[in-house]
Amino acid sequence: MVTEVPSPPGSSASCEIRIVNDISEMARVADLVDQFGVAHSLSNEVIVALNVSLDEILNNIICYAYQDAGPHEITVRLELRHESVEAFVEDDGKPFDPLAVTTPRPRSVGREGGVGLHFVRSLTDQVRYTRRDGINQLWFMKKLTR
């Protein structure tokens, strides 16, 4: 007889989390990334790349994407591929293509605006932005390192 044990969050080859647009929600995403990383024996480099990139992207969305004060849902999905991890982030904020922003390398307080996206581009292997049916869809891919 086989007993079905519910798998812990983040242990299947893909996982998804929905958060509301509040900074305090972001720790749940980082927890999920850590669990996903442990469950699939991802290297620390990959886990850090996912965590930092998602922190930058979600912080941007939560702080700048919404013109009203109401709650909005943001979806984050991670998918493990053979040689990479893909992350999908969807929000219904105003259209924003982070790839259209030039990223200088700010070095002091007050000029830090572009450094977050510089981190995303440097830590990931591919980033893509699409706007579809009023939804911003950001996708990025990180190759696996062992």
């Binding site: 850090v48 922190d55 930058e56 070095r107 981190f119 440097s122």
Partner: protein, 112 residues
């Protein structure tokens, strides 16, 4: 995020644990600023148990550095290793901070 503080005469040693990101940067920055405001403005910050630092975390570090300088103190970092060191390099932050190999080196630098 957890901060463990110790005092060695005129130098305060702060060991940080966990993530330094959008969620934790505010509380982290406020604690460092409050140390500076209470006169503890020579600080060695040990990052060896930090998993990663995002731009929000670097912003808090820059603000803390500025606060110590305004009080004629100084912020020294140590334990900048592994992925955290790589993030310092990617963000071009290595030149922005006094980075020392160990806590003892940091304390020594601050007393020079």
């Amino acid at each position: 995020m957890k901060l463990v503080e110790a005092v060695s005469d005129d130098v305060t040693i702060v060991e940080a644990y966990g993530r330094l990101d959008s969620t934790t940067a505010k509380e982290f920055g406020e604690r460092l600023i409050s140390l500076v405001q209470s006169g503890r403005c020579s600080i060695v910050l040990d990052l060896k148990n930090i998993a990663y630092i995002s731009s929000a975390g670097f912003r808090a570090l820059l603000i803390a550095k500025k606060a110590t300088a305004e009080r004629e103190g100084k912020l020294a970092l140590c334990g900048v290793i592994g992925e955290v060191r790589r993030l310092f390099e990617i963000g071009a932050f290595t030149e922005e901070f006094l980075i020392c190999p160990t806590q003892a080196d940091g304390i020594g630098k601050l007393r020079q």
